[in-house]
Symmetry: C2
Subunit: 464 residues, 2 copies
């Protein structure tokens, strides 16, 4: 069984690498054509795909009763492709990605090393991606679109709850690709964990793993492969209310960072509110009142707890929603309407505390003090450092990337929300136009030796 998984994984990985290599010689306009074909094919297969989605939903609903409510309704909601405008926006997403600028072929460095010897650094795809995700089946289509646009082959593994839907979605994608110059093995889907395990050891064929899902999923992958992993295990974001904060901004930013969009499990939601001690009796009560009224549970340290106790009659939900924080409150991603509160004596202490406790995702300061803002943005070592703005802005669409592959809390390659640009790397192309070609032995010190010219020049594409 394990061996079967390994053989299958080898076959899939080799086919993906071969498809990637073959695609390097296909014009990038073909990739846009392929995306248009995919949209058409999905449209044509809509009834069959939604029927498969209903089967997945029924299985999950039956499973849910067996598990006596262990699975939440939100899982059913995320799985359901007929919900709202999900289907249409999935199709529109394919068109949107097709219309984004081509991230490949962009020259970021051009240097004339010698007369007739030109060096170009040009963006190109990474190779073969392995993307592992949970629940939402439309991710198959999103990721396939991003991979094709950026020129990468991809192997996809969705959650087992959406197996039937994912199978039909990938079938439609492969059917569409078979009508184009892109090999149909460019996008492949696998269904078992055994295959994932086997693929994680194939660093000869797979170049990047992108896990999207729970902390446990991401950590498990990071611990079991030498292939680079891009993503985030935790989203422990924080909002710091500075001594010189404006009370209205503090209330708005704190509440939006936690409560916005009814989805407190989002990775860009704040898990911790940090208070400068001088705002305990001024701004903090106003912020707490609004958070409590929005049904947020507050896990407070002693000073912030004491400040609220004094005002308890005026605070909604005080008895049910305010509790002392346990020591691990500050390292927990609550994934719910729960917020840990910490009081600190200075901006410097807040920066140190954030660097030690946050997951380096996104942190925001509320302040009217330009110097404090600058110090916070430079001193806090996170992918996003914001001033008077909600942490929920940390998102590829909101950043203006059109769409996102995921959010990275790593520092290597891509950091923060990752758009198409995060799916490319670069290579160096060099051409000698010299009558005898160019060799290194001609350069150096001594008689008759040449010196490097190293003259940068502007180039928008490689001319050969």
């Amino acid at each position: 069984m394990a061996e079967l998984g390994e053989n299958l994984a080898q076959t899939i990985a080799k086919a993906a690498k071969a498809a990637f290599e073959a695609s390097q010689l296909i014009a990038s306009s073909e990739r846009v054509t392929a995306l248009q074909e995919i949209r058409k094919e999905l449209d044509a297969a809509k009834d069959a795909i939604l029927a498969a989605n209903r089967i997945d939903l029924q299985v999950l609903a039956a499973q849910k009763e067996v598990d006596a409510g262990r699975m939440s309704g939100s899982l059913l909601k995320r799985l359901d492709l007929t919900k709202g405008d999900k289907w249409d926006s999935m199709l529109q997403g394919v068109t949107d990605v097709a219309e984004l600028p081509d991230p490949t072929g962009v020259v970021s460095y051009a240097n004339e090393l010698d007369d007739g010897l030109e060096l170009y650094r040009v963006s190109c795809p990474i190779g073969v991606l392995l993307v592992i995700f949970e629940a939402r089946p439309e991710v198959v289509v999103n990721i396939a679109a991003l991979a094709i646009k950026s020129g990468n082959a991809v192997i996809l593994k969705g959650g087992k709850e959406s197996n039937e839907t994912s199978r039909l979605l990938s079938h439609a994608i492969q059917t569409a690709l078979s009508k184009t110059a892109i090999p149909s093995t460019y996008i492949q889907t696998i269904q078992t964990r055994a295959e994932v395990s086997a693929l994680l050891s194939l660093d000869k064929y797979i170049d990047l793993v992108i896990p999207r899902g729970s902390n446990a999923l991401v950590s498990n992958i990071q611990n079991n492969t030498r292939i680079p992993v891009m993503g985030h295990a935790d989203g422990l974001c924080s909002v710091y209310i500075d001594a010189l904060a404006d009370v209205k901004k503090a209330v708005r930013v704190a509440v939006d960072s936690k409560v916005q969009t009814d989805y407190p499990a989002a990775c860009n939601a704040a898990e911790t509110l940090i208070l400068h001690e001088s705002v305990l009796s001024t701004i903090w009560p106003e912020v707490a009142k609004t958070l409590l009224a929005a049904d947020v549970k507050l896990l407070c340290d002693e000073p912030s707890l004491a400040a609220l106790s004094a005002l308890s009659p005026a605070l909604p939900n005080h008895s049910s929603h305010v509790e002392p924080a346990t020591p691990n409150a500050y390292s927990t991603e609550h994934l719910s309407l729960t917020l840990s509160v910490k009081t600190l004596p200075s901006l410097g202490a807040a920066i140190q505390w954030i660097n030690a406790h946050s997951s380096h995702h996104t942190e925001s300061i509320v302040t009217e003090d330009e110097r404090a803002a600058s110090t916070f943005c430079r001193g806090v070592d996170s992918a996003g450092t914001f001033v008077n703005a909600s942490t929920r802005f940390a998102d590829g669409f909101r950043y203006g990337f059109g769409t996102e592959v995921g959010i990275s809390t790593g520092r290597i390659h891509a950091r923060g929300p990752v758009g198409l640009e995060g799916l490319v790397t670069y290579k160096y192309m060099m051409r000698s136009k010299g009558a005898q070609g160019h060799v290194v032995g001609e350069f150096g010190v001594g008689e008759g030796k040449r010196q490097y010219k190293h003259k940068k020049f502007a180039a928008s594409s490689v001319p050969f």
Copy 2:
């Protein structure tokens, strides 16, 4: 013992992270001052450092006799700091790095998301680097200079052969730093493998590992850490002589790629020569003659072997230097004046063969055919793809980067020769200048909701 190593590693790693975080609030001009101080301090400590270097050399020389010549004279040469202009060029290197443009604080994306809401993507250091290298003690100084210039803290582990020299070099560096605003724990040195092992598990504090050395060293590190690793295990480069190659260019490029600078173990040296079958009786004999005259040993496949046999009287060293290739010749980094030769029927076959056998470092085509050049450069999936130029150009200095950290055969973060730019990442800074700050809840569809403006603008630095 192992536990002691772990405790020490924890202390060192925490100190490095703290030094990195503290340095984020220090002006980058201070980093230039620190480099100037380091040069002064090294100059002042020159006699002591060279005395330590003599001790290392004596120990190694004694060891060498014990090992009955197992260690090569080249190791002694690489260890010797008094050799040629090594000392002076080490000091000049510090000044050169100080004078390079600051790689941090560079804005690569600026977008006005809404009136008064500005987003900046700005380059910043990665954090804490762990650099592991062999033999050459001056690497301590090179890497320290690059780390300081780019704003990263670094932990260094040199080869045990240069322990005494490295210890004094780092002492001088720390003494210099203690006179500046940069913490002296910014550059730390460790001496044992147990410490390295312990550090490789501390992904909370260490952000990037850069191994420089043998294939075994690099592979071992890649297999034993979840921290990202930047470097190359193999340098299996190749030169492909196309059907439409110019004979003079073919000879020059093939010979320079293999023989140049008397250092055939360099990672950018060619290990394989690929021949289009149509050049077997035309260009190949000329190339072989020059290679054999330069003392290169040729491991040939059947067609290339047969082509030479017919001409053997006219070829120097034919009987001693020409052999049939074994199957593993094409996956071996010879590290010597040995070259494997492979004959293939087409450009397409050559591209496929390179993608399957090379280490994706650097490959060169010799051709007068523009289309073949373009196909080769796009189809070959390596960090460098060259036309009529020696593979030995793959080098940070030759590329115009001033200096290099190493060469990466990975595709993530940095690829090919890595200069200072490879030691930075970026973060997103966002500032709301709105009267009430900015929250996500104001945006969306429906009455009174705002739409994102997403207006890119030019910015050379973050204005706050």
